[in-house]
Structure formats: C-alpha cells, structure tokens
C-alpha cells in the first residue's frame, strides 16, 4: 500500500456491550434483573425479538451464541439470566465510556454502542507510540467506568475494528494483508445501521455462493467490476475488505444527565432537615449546570426511604434554574412525601438525588417571535401562585386534573402547582380518547363531592337495609334515605333511583379487591344524590 496519508485509526471495542450496559448501574432497575448481575462470572443473555442479541462470556462458553432462539439457549444453559433488550439504555450507558475516552484523545466517535473510533496518528505521538496509546485508552476506560475493552490500531475502518477484536496493532500498510484471511461475514462489524447490515447480509450470501469466502477473495476482484455488478453497497463492501475505507460512521452522542445525590445518614424524617440537605444539593446541581453551560427542561427528584421504597417525581423547569427554584421544588416534594398523602407518614429518607433532564445549551432556547397565546397570562398567574404559596405555605396552591376513571372522586387528582402534568392515559382500543370508561358513573357528575364521604342508610319499604349483591343487583327498591352528618343530615323519601353501577378494581392486589357500587337517588324534594355502597352506604356526591 503506497498511501502515505492514510490515517491511522484506533478502535475501542467493549465485548458484549448490551450485557455490560444492562448489568451495570444503568440497567439495575430492570425488573427482571433482580439485583446486580456479574456478567464476568454469571451466564447472562440479552434477548430481543429475534432471539439472543448478546451473551456474557460464561454463557458463550456453554454454547449460547448471537441469533439463537431463547429456548435453545435455555436448554444449553439452564441457569441463564435473561435481560430484555433496551437499546436506549445501551446508548446512554456508553456515554460515560466516551467521556472517559475524551480524557485521552480528542473527539472520539461512537460507531455504535460498544464500539468507539478515533484518529490515532496525533495521540500516538503524544502518548509515545501506538502501543502506549492503546494501553492508555484501555486503562483509562477501565479506571473511570469499570468497562473492560480491547483496543486495536490499523489503517482502515474494518482493519481497526478487527484489530480491536484481536487486541493487536496492525503495522502501517498491512491492513489488507491482515484482513485477507478473515471470513467475509466480518464485514458486518463495520456497518452500523440495521438497514445497511440487512443489505450487506444479502450481498454476503451472494458472495459466498460465488465462492468468495474470505475478505481477501473480495478484495482481489477489480473494484470497477464489483461496483458495476453489485452497486454502491457492493462497492462499499469492496472498499472495506480492501482496507481502503476509513470514513468512520458517526452516531450522535447523548448528553449525559447531570445528577447529584446525597446519602442521608442518619436518616431524615423531618421535612425541614431534608430541605436543608436539598439546599446544598440544589446549589451543587445549579453550579454544575452553569459550569457546563446547560439549561434543563425537567428536574427529577428521587428519594429513597428507610423501608426500601423509592419515590421519584418530575418537575418542569424553564431555562437555567436558580438554586432557590430547585430548593423550593424539592422542599414541596419532600413535604408532600413525608406527610404521606392518604397512606399515613412514610419512613425517613436515606438518599436524595436530583437529576436535571432534557439538557440543552443554555441561552440557545429560541423564544418565539410572537409570544405564545396566553403565555403572558400564564407567567402572571405563575408569579401570583408563587406569591400565594409563600404567604400560605407549601402545598396550598394546587392545580386540579381530571383523569379517566370510574367515579367522580377517583378521577380527580390535585397536583402541586408547577408539578408536571402526567401524560394522559392511552385510550382504550377502539374508543375515542375522551370517551368515558364503560361502566363508569355517567355524566352529569355531582357538583359537590364531600371531602369525606358522609355515612348514610338506605332502606327499603320494610325498613331493611338495601344491599348490593355480587352481581351488582340491588336487593330491594330503596324507599328511605337517612344521611348521618354534614349539611345534608336528615331523612327523606326516595322518589326515583338509578343504578347500581358496580365497580370492582384492584383485584390483583394482595390486600384484595376494592369493590363498591354507585347509585343515584332522587329525593322527593327534588334533591339528587350519588350514593356509594362500600361496606355500608355513603353519601358520595350531591347534584347541587
């Protein structure tokens, strides 16, 4: 090879990257992971729709290979731990590896998660030789991220990738000779997109049938003839095999999330103490964002409780948040959690972590030429809400949200002001998005839903309690209703009724199903009421 200006290329390959990524701290919350896995000693496989995508070394030692059906893999290796493929986690988890590479070389490029490419000529001079550079790259990545990779250097793209797989350095000009004896399907290793691999695979089948089984066989053919017969894909494969292709495919690097966390020891049970910890965390997060010149779109607050429960919540942010903004939101969130809405006080906090998500360059957000309709109103109202909250205390300003559901009480959620509105629930198949659930209490809804349901008694003509059986049928026609409290206290005669609407939900929970039945009652004085049977009768709503 006479080319003198051919660049030297260094490839870093982390074997079985999907397994490494999903077993690491990024994949630790995968439900099927069941605690930390050690891919170095345990048989682990990542399985997607078409069988095994990657397997750890012990699993491969037992015969599990890529592309194998899960059933066959399990029969070969009965103790196989199976992880679901999560490409997005694999991509994100590779970012720390790229950051570590950035410590050694300038501008490394992701070919695909698990394979990084970089120019080697300049850094090699600086590091004192290609051997030293490769050793330094592998060492740095292992030190900083714990991922163990192999490095290889060669003249061309495919040469570097293959050299990394073998952990060798191919001398200048010998990439073609190095590649020649390798099987022709190794071409796939240098292609990054699924579509390119698909096209190449078809072509490689054809090459095999034509007797081209080694990369050298393909490289030996005249380039013009291959291009004329097999088109651009053929020409690309020929260039790869002949070690003449060094344009590295580029894949966008995700911006790493900015996360700060603090272990609280001793555990914190009071919100003011937690807010104190939150203050320093918020300052740290804000400072990190400013230093990296980033603005965040969302703030995720995550807390770990002493009893092992972990809660997290997202807040929407605008621009670069000041520490006070972050502290306020964390404080509101912690007060909400520690007071335990509904289910009593919760265990003290042991860990608090703040993550800034949806990062973008600060100052780069484009305000519209004309402000959005209502944007000014929204800002004014937001300022007033903040003022009111500062006057009355945290958690006093809310925004109501009506969701899909069965009954007027269960459909309502009151969110703290500024909390991110969750995405609407997906519509049931075959229904319009806004149509109410089948079997829900029908509209119109009662305009008064007492904060606490009021006990009531509903009796038939003989004075017996009206009951609702397992099939949702009332045992008798209601005649008299006694309401035992609240402004509606008293007795009255029933003029008409409708229902009952039985609701049976939560039957999958260990504490048993939550069964109840709703009934509309029209009193003789014209008052319309909504009752619920839940152990006994309760006044649930008034059509006032």
């Amino acid at each position: 090879m006479s080319r003198v200006d051919a660049p030297r290329m260094l490839a870093l390959w982390v074997p079985d990257w999907p397994v490494v990524a999903l077993c690491g701290r990024w994949g630790g919350d995968a439900p099927e992971a069941g605690g930390a896995l050690r891919p170095a000693v345990e048989a682990v496989a990542v399985v997607g729709g078409d069988g095994v995508l990657a397997a750890s070394a012990p699993a491969r030692g037992l015969g599990v290979s890529t592309g194998m059906r899960l059933r066959l893999a399990r029969s070969l290796c009965p103790g196989l731990r199976v992880l679901r493929a999560r490409p997005e986690v694999e991509v994100r988890a590779f970012e720390p590896v790229m950051a570590a590479l950035g410590e050694v070389v300038a501008d490394p490029v992701v070919a695909r998660p698990g394979l990084a490419l970089m120019a080697a000529r300049g850094p090699a001079r600086w590091a004192g030789g290609e051997q030293a550079l490769a050793a330094k790259v592998v060492e740095t990545v292992t030190d900083l991220t714990g991922a163990e990779g192999q490095a290889g250097v060669a003249d061309s793209l495919l040469g570097a990738v293959m050299a990394a797989r073998q952990g060798v350095i191919v001398p200048v000009g010998q990439a073609a000779e190095f590649l020649a004896p390798l099987p022709i399907d190794r071409l796939l290793a240098a292609l990054t997109t699924r579509q390119a691999r698909q096209e190449a695979r078809l072509l490689i089948d054809t090459f095999s049938r034509l007797g081209l089984r080694r990369l050298g066989d393909l490289a030996g053919l005249p380039q013009k003839d291959v291009a004329a017969r097999f088109g651009p894909t053929g020409a690309l494969l020929h260039a790869l095999a002949a070690a003449q292709e060094w344009r590295s495919p580029v894949c966008a690097r995700p911006e790493a999330d900015v996360q700060v966390e603090r272990v609280l020891d001793p555990p914190v049970g009071r919100s003011d103490q937690a807010a104190f910890a939150a203050r320093s965390l918020a300052e740290e997060l804000s400072e990190t964002l400013v230093r990296r010149a980033l603005a965040a779109g969302r703030l995720q607050v995550r807390a770990q409780h002493e009893d092992g429960v972990s809660r997290s919540r997202c807040w929407r942010l605008e621009g670069v948040p000041a520490p006070a903004d972050i502290t306020d939101r964390v404080r509101w969130q912690l007060e909400g959690w520690l007071s335990g809405p509904g289910d009593g006080p919760v265990a003290p906090l042991t860990l608090l972590s703040l993550t800034a998500l949806e990062l973008r360059a600060a100052g780069a957000e484009q305000k519209g030429l004309w402000s959005q309709p209502g944007a000014q109103d929204r800002q004014r109202v937001a300022r007033a809400a903040e003022r009111v909250e500062s006057l009355l205390g945290a958690g006093t300003v809310l925004s109501p949200l009506v969701e899909q559901g069965w009954d007027p009480r269960g459909r309502v959620r009151l969110l703290a002001w500024g909390e991110e509105v969750p995405a609407p629930q997906p519509a049931l198949r075959g229904t319009r998005s806004l149509s109410p659930w089948l079997g829900a209490v029908p509209a119109p809804s009662p305009s008064v839903v007492p904060a606490q349901a009021v006990p009531a008694r509903l009796q038939d003509a003989a004075g017996r309690e009206v009951e609702v059986d397992a099939h949702g049928q009332a045992s008798a026609e209601p005649h008299v209703l006694h309401v035992e409290g609240g402004p509606w206290q008293g007795s009255g005669e029933v003029a008409a009724w409708a229902g009952p609407w039985p609701v049976d939900e939560g039957w999958w929970r260990p504490q048993g199903a939550h069964r109840r039945a709703y009934m509309q009652v029209l009193m003789r004085d014209g008052q319309a009421l909504l009752l619920v049977r839940r152990g006994r009768w309760w006044l649930e709503g008034v059509y006032d």
């Binding site: 109202v381 809310l398 949200l401 509209a443 809804s445 009662p446 008064v448 839903v449 509309q520």
Partner: protein, 258 residues
C-alpha cells in the same frame, strides 16, 4: 390654522372627521379595534341577568346551587384564568363538564389562614387572575370592611369575583332547583291522590338532567334557567314553557300530596 379654528367647524373640521372616519373604516376592515371598544362590543352591556353580572368586573354573589356557580365561573373564565379559593368538596368532574378549563385553574387551599393572610392572598390573585371564586367558608373569615375593599379592588383591576357567601355590595342572585322529575325524563308521572307513590327507577337508567332557575334576590329581574345534562350546561332566558308549567305546579302538587 389653529386648533380652535379646526375644532370650531369649517372645512378643516370636516376634513379631520373624514380622515378619522376613513382611518376607522380601514381599521375595522383590518380587524383592528380599540381594546375598550372591543370590550363594549363583546361585553354583556347592562344585561339584567346573572350571566351578564358575572361577566362584569365586581363581585357577584350566587347562593343555592354549586352547579350554577361553576357554570358562571366557566363562563367568566372564557379564555383567561380562574382561581378558586377554598372549594373544599367541589366536584371537579362536574366543573370540567360544565366547561371550566382545568388547565387554567389555580386552586388555593388557605387552610387555617387568618383574615390578614387571606386579604393578601385574594389581593395577589385579583392582580393576576381575571376570575376568582371564593367559597362561603373563606368569605366568612373576612371582615365586612375587607370584603368592601376587595370589591373595590376587583372593580379597579377589572376582575370578576364570584362567591356563594355573604359579600357586601355584591349583586346577589339566588338559584332555585327546579323539580328534576320532568327534566329527568319522568314527565307524566301519575301522582296518586291517596298514599305515597312508590319510588320508581329512572326510565333513562340514569339521571339525565337537572335545572335551576336563577333570579336576583332584590327586585323583579330577569329569570334565567340553567339546564345541566351530560353535554354540559345550557341557559334559557325568561321562563320557558316546560319549566313554567312544571316547576311551580310540581312543587305545589308535592305539597298537596304530602
């Protein structure tokens, strides 16, 4: 030519008037109008009914029905924001069905705040939010002087304050529930003269609609009827035939039978 001579008439004045008229025509063709003129054009004017009152800056007091109160809040909210202060035990599903956009609602739960705190909160809300609904329990914590001050503030800020509690200086309306039997689809019920009619199942299988008539507490203002069904609310002005015959008659009949 001086200003006086132009104003006093003559060719100058007519030219100015012509020019102004031409500009006004151009403006109206382009869809441009003075904000205040627009308000007058769109605003309720001096309609006597409760809907008109609720759309005018100031305080409107409505007692007797939460549904009507929510319908007025939804109407006053229009394209703006609405703040609710207090509002314990409010049916938010009903509020949404009646047209209140919950995405533009601020709910303030004042808890045990004293009158001084409440005054500051309501002041801050009137500054920013076009429609503020204060429920009776919260309104009762204020002194009459505070309520008068807030009324003045609402007028000054052109904000609308709705309440179901006492409020000095407010225009007061009262809602009466119309007997829902004809509305609920039970029209033509045969009421036996002797003994109690047996309760019956609603023919539609559910409560179809309720209705209220709203009139001003003082004087003989216009009567408006609000009908609430699963599609939302609809208003009828005056006393519609069906309600006129059914409401008092039904009430009276019930009394006779009872």
């Amino acid at each position: 030519m001086t200003l006086e001579s132009r104003d006093s008439g003559g060719p100058g004045a007519s030219r100015l008037a012509q020019a102004q008229a031409a500009l006004a025509r151009a403006e109206s063709r382009a869809g441009l109008r003075v904000a205040r003129a627009l308000e007058v054009a769109q605003g309720p004017g001096r309609r006597a009914g409760v809907r008109g009152a609720a759309l005018r800056p100031g305080v409107t007091r409505l007692t007797g029905s939460t549904t009507v109160l929510l319908a007025l809040a939804a109407q006053a909210q229009a394209q703006g924001w609405c703040a609710l202060v207090g509002a314990e035990g409010l049916g938010w599903c009903a509020a949404a069905e009646e047209g209140l956009d919950l995405g533009r609602v601020v709910l303030v739960r004042p808890g045990e705040a004293d009158r001084r705190g409440l005054l500051a909160v309501l002041g801050a809300l009137l500054e920013a939010v076009g429609t503020v609904l204060v429920t009776a329990e919260v309104a009762a914590r204020l002194r009459p002087a505070d309520r008068r001050a807030l009324l003045a503030r609402a007028r000054e800020r052109e904000a609308r304050l709705l309440t179901d509690g006492d409020w000095e200086g407010a225009r007061a309306f009262r809602a009466h529930r119309l007997n829902p039997l004809p509305h609920a689809g039970l029209g033509g019920v045969v009421v036996p003269l002797r003994g109690r009619p047996a309760p019956q199942e609603l023919p539609a299988g559910r409560l179809v609609a309720c209705a209220w008539e709203v009139r001003e507490t003082t004087g003989w203002g216009q009567v408006e009827v609000l009908r609430r069904d699963s599609d939302g609310v609809s208003w009828e002005t005056g006393v519609p035939q069906s309600c006129a015959t059914s409401a008092p008659a039904a009430r009276a009949r019930t009394q006779v039978v009872g």
